[in-house]
């Protein structure tokens, strides 16, 4: 379902594989461009300004194709989505591709529905609102935990201020363990509660303040002792 005007550019040194990918995605895009020569890619990108790039990672020198990505003029705000495709399911290759900035990697054998769903998800077409993605509801749902990386900004008598890539709701309890937690609270794991959350000046920076879920006397003494040692 094409609800936006979308142009795609396939970058593939192997014309047969490039054509196969074009066939797979033809119904999703208004215009599909194809480029084999690395030297021409930058020119093509500047001229056609594709919204989506498909890059074949299945070439002898994969690093060459990772390097292509760094040369492509992607505007910070353009939100160009970059997909890789390969017939190799090596975790190292996929990890490397993600680090280099690929949004998703399709691994052979390609499933047309899965490819379409994944592409559509980035553009939030009507077709792929969350409830329409072919997920099976789980009853009962599956409980677990999510580890999120937090950057410590400051420590005061009430608790700790953190910076995070994700927004965390106020009132959320969470556990954390690290050498600094051991140093402050003299306990390996401490439960904290988010009491305040706000956005930073830069887009995507979130800050929050968390207080330990323990008796005030115990916290105060531990936090004061730690801060006085640091000051």
């Amino acid at each position: 379902m094409k609800t936006q005007y979308l142009k795609a550019l396939i970058i593939d040194q192997d014309p047969a594989q490039g054509r196969a990918m074009a066939l797979l995605i033809k119904d999703l895009f208004n215009k599909i461009h194809f480029e084999q020569k690395v030297d021409e890619i930058i020119k093509e990108c500047n001229e056609i300004k594709p919204r989506v790039l498909f890059i074949n990672l299945n070439v002898e020198q994969r690093t060459t194709n990772f390097e292509i990505l760094s040369k492509i003029p992607l505007d910070g705000d353009s939100q160009t989505v970059v997909f890789g495709y390969t017939d190799s399911h090596e975790p190292e290759l996929i990890a490397h591709a993600i680090e280099e900035g690929f949004h998703d990697i399709f691994v052979k054998p390609y499933d047309a529905d899965i490819v379409a769903t994944k592409i559509n998800r980035f553009f939030q077409f009507e077709k792929t609102q969350p409830r329409q993605i072919n997920y099976t509801p789980l009853k009962p749902s599956l409980q677990g935990v999510m580890g999120i990386s937090l950057k410590l900004i400051s420590v005061d008598e009430n608790g700790m201020q953190f910076k995070c890539d994700h927004y965390i709701s106020k009132g959320t309890p969470f556990k954390t363990e690290s050498p600094i937690i051991q140093e402050i609270f003299e306990e390996p794991i401490v439960e904290l509660m988010v009491t305040k959350t706000w956005m930073g000046d830069n887009y995507g920076d979130y800050f929050f303040f968390a207080e330990p879920v323990r008796s005030i006397e115990k916290n105060s003494a531990a936090l004061r002792r730690f801060i006085l040692r640091k000051l």
């Binding site: 399911h89 975790p91 996929i94 993600i98 949004h103 998703d104 990697i105 399709f106 499933d111 899965i114 998800r121 980035f122 939030q124 969350p130 993605i133 072919n134 997920y135 099976t136 509801p137 789980l138 749902s141 599956l142 409980q143 677990g144 935990v145 999510m146 580890g147 999120i148 990386s149 937090l150 950057k151 900004i153 400051s154 420590v155 005061d156 008598e157 009430n158 953190f162 890539d165 994700h166 927004y167 965390i168 709701s169 106020k170 009132g171 959320t172 969470f174 556990k175 954390t176 363990e177 600094i180 988010v194 009491t195 305040k196 995507g204 005030i216 006397e217 105060s220 801060i227 000051l231």
Partner: protein
């Protein structure tokens, strides 16, 4: 609003919060020096409410930024081998209820082996 206190009110906490907002010198604070970086992992509750071959819906008290690598620990899903896949947050996030968000996580580079294990897991649960 600078801060808030919840009932039952504790005098010590209230006084400390007042000292903080009044920038009282007795209220001590340590800021991490600019050349130093301390990162730690926070463990937040998370629930998978729907699963498919391309990803899953994750409910939690967080709104994941798009295109970030994520790796929740869901013991019941260990047999699906999804931990072998790279998992990435997509741009779809919806409010769920009471400070919870419905996040969409997509599998990156999932192979036929992974999708067949997910299919088996779902069909087994359907039969139970």
């Amino acid at each position: 609003m600078k801060d808030y206190v919840v009932k039952p009110l504790e005098a010590q906490l209230l006084i400390r919060k007042l000292r903080k907002v009044l920038f009282n010198k007795d209220f001590i604070k340590w800021e991490i020096p600019e050349n130093e970086e301390i990162t730690l992992i926070g463990t937040f509750p998370a629930t998978v409410i729907a699963l498919g071959e391309t990803g899953y819906s994750l409910v939690g008290p967080f709104k994941l930024s798009p295109n970030r690598d994520v790796k929740p620990t869901i013991p019941a899903l260990s047999e699906t081998s999804i931990n072998e896949c790279h998992q990435r947050s997509s741009s779809i996030v919806k409010s769920f209820s009471g400070g919870l968000f419905l996040n969409d996580v997509t599998f990156v580079g999932a192979g036929e082996n992974n999708t067949s294990k997910i299919r088996q897991f779902l069909s087994k649960r359907g039969q139970e």
